[in-house]
């Protein structure tokens, strides 16, 4: 196996519910590791804790217990100043690009600002050159630089979100439900792009989705979450061919394939304990 890049051990993550009340624990005793260049899927239904787990991995929420190590450094208790040099190396692509791209900034500004902030470009000219190069890499025309987010299609906006993450040459990218709002053909393009980028750049990724068929398409390994815990983990091929947990089985069986099956609707899932 490849060298471990990101490792979480016995992670508990929760949110405070009020003064002097115990926190609601959303992620319970989760341990995982992601190797360099590896794409790991995190799947689960709404409320399973997958997004909270992802945010904890990036240090966006502080865990209640457990440790997170990134490239050999324990980042669990690092303060913001100590985190900053690591931030460039761990990026995120969000579910809704309309909410994560500033509507009042042109794409040029959206892409060049982080490059200058992280010192990857000293001048605006350098930053623009890098941004243009990345746009090309994600399959967007240069003209996109002079557009506002609302002038682009959903698929194009998501490419901007991906460009913003990968142009900083990160080691790790967290992608949270990045194709769930897209059309089938756009979804296929974006997933292909993700596959190509992770291969070409040796990117490690955590790919969060509620859709197992999407995970199957892009991930090497998959973690199945249920009620804050990992119920199953393994290579995609193995998990899909022979899931050990009845819960995983029920998730797979609930995916409608584009092949008519007169018995599919009537088939009930086996009871999940």
């Amino acid at each position: 196996m490849a060298e471990i890049l990101l490792e979480a051990a016995n992670l508990d993550v929760g949110y405070a519910t009020g003064w002097a009340k115990p926190a609601t624990v959303v992620v319970k005793n989760v341990s995982l590791s992601i190797g360099r260049g590896e794409v790991v899927g995190i799947v689960g239904e709404s409320g399973s804790g997958k997004t909270t787990l992802g945010r904890a991995l990036l240090g966006l929420v502080r865990p209640l217990a457990g440790t997170i190590r990134f490239a050999g450094t324990d980042i669990t208790r690092l303060d913001e100043a100590a985190m900053r040099p690591l931030r460039r190396r761990m990026q995120m692509v969000f579910q809704d690009p309309m909410a994560s791209l500033n509507p009042r900034h042109m794409i040029a500004r959206i892409l060049t600002a982080p490059l200058r902030l992280h010192g990857l470009a000293r001048t605006q000219r350098e930053a623009l050159a890098l941004a243009s190069q990345t746009l090309d890499q994600v399959g967007l025309p240069l003209a996109a630089l002079q557009r506002y987010p609302h002038e682009l299609s959903g698929g194009q906006r998501q490419r901007v979100g991906i460009a913003r993450a990968v142009m900083l040459k990160p080691d790790f990218v967290l992608a949270d439900e990045i194709v769930s709002g897209l059309d089938v053909s756009t979804q296929a393009q974006v997933l292909r792009l993700i596959g190509d980028l992770s291969r070409d750049m040796g990117l490690a990724m955590a790919f969060i989705s509620h859709d197992l068929s999407v995970i199957r398409a892009v991930c090497d390994r998959v973690l199945v979450m249920r009620q804050g815990e990992i119920t199953e983990e393994g290579a995609c091929e193995t998990v899909f061919a022979a899931p050990r947990s009845p819960y995983t089985r029920s998730l797979i069986d609930a995916i409608p394939l584009p092949v008519p099956d007169p018995h599919w609707l009537a088939r009930l899932p086996e009871a999940v304990p």
């Binding site: 709404s46 292909r192 584009p258 599919w264």
Partner: protein
């Protein structure tokens, strides 16, 4: 074949906001009682416009330029608005995509389920309540008595969609229009909801127009399918024909673009630019015929 419940004939529409650009181009389709007709396409294909045209809910900037929408023998587009409303209210129901915005946040489920029964069926308060409870039971809602007292925000997404299905079937409609009713739901909940819609629709012999972009959902629930691109029908026919023996390259490309967990090497093929170009050509050719 039984007489059509809904028949859309040569429907064309333009958007006045986009300088009179066509958004529906000679769309014809029909739904028989007890049949589920899938209306499929990517965003901007015009599938919601068709659904809204039937319900008389088109945005102000959209104008129907020709065609007819016939519901059980009555043409809707030329009908006086008041009569159209009463016909639609009595015979057509909508299951919307987003259950939270379709429910009134400040009223209890009971009120929202009984309103229609009292207004359209002339039920007494007690009778409406009894029927609402029976409906919640029919959509397999646990503890219907308790749910009746709750507000929409107290229900999960799947439960809200069950309430809306109950509301949709409450008035025993002849036609149900389902507009992406499961897009926001988890797969396991989606399956329950699909099964529920199919059960209710078979039990009541209701016809359904099922708007979706998911060919997997189409494969499992629709009897026939109409595939739209740019407001124009690219292919239409029985579901198995369309998905297993697609005639149009666009249909073939969309099937190939759908993810396949069972055969990962076969899914997710991006739609070739040549196919998109052909679709655009067909639309341009249609528009030339219109103006030339």
């Amino acid at each position: 074949m039984s007489a059509a419940l809904l028949s859309i004939e040569h429907l064309s529409a333009i958007s006045e906001r986009e300088g009179g650009a066509s958004i529906l181009r000679d769309v014809s389709l029909s739904v028989a009682p007890g049949e589920v007709h899938g209306l499929v396409g990517e965003s901007g294909a015009g599938k919601s416009t068709v659904a809204r045209a039937i319900l008389g809910m088109l945005p102000r900037a959209v104008r129907v330029t020709s065609g007819a929408i016939i519901l059980s023998g009555t043409e809707l587009l030329t009908l006086e608005p008041k009569r159209r409303r009463s016909l639609l209210g009595a015979h057509v129901a909508l299951i919307p995509q987003d259950p939270l915005s379709a429910l009134n946040p400040s009223r209890r489920i009971e009120a929202q389920l009984t309103d229609g029964l009292r207004m359209w069926k002339g039920c007494s308060a007690a009778e409406a309540r009894r029927r609402a409870l029976a409906l919640l039971d029919e959509v397999q809602m646990r503890e219907p008595e308790r749910v009746m007292r709750l507000y929409p925000h107290e229900l999960s997404g799947g439960m809200r969609q069950r309430v809306l299905i109950a509301a949709a079937f409450a008035l025993e409609p002849r036609l149900v229009i389902a507009d992406e009713p499961t897009t926001a739901l988890d797969v396991t909940v989606q399956k329950q909801i699909l099964r529920l819609i199919r059960d209710m629709q078979l039990r009541h012999d209701t016809g359904a127009l099922f708007v979706t972009h998911d060919l997997g959902v189409v494969a499992q629930i629709c009897d026939r399918v109409t595939l739209l691109f740019g407001g124009r029908i690219m292919e239409q026919g029985p579901t198995a024909d369309l998905l297993l023996r697609p005639q149009h390259p666009y249909t073939r490309a969309l099937v190939a673009a759908s993810p396949r967990y069972d055969r990962p090497e076969d899914g997710l093929a991006p739609v070739p630019e040549a196919v998109m170009a052909r679709c655009r050509q067909e639309i341009a050719a249609f528009d030339r015929g219109l103006h030339g």
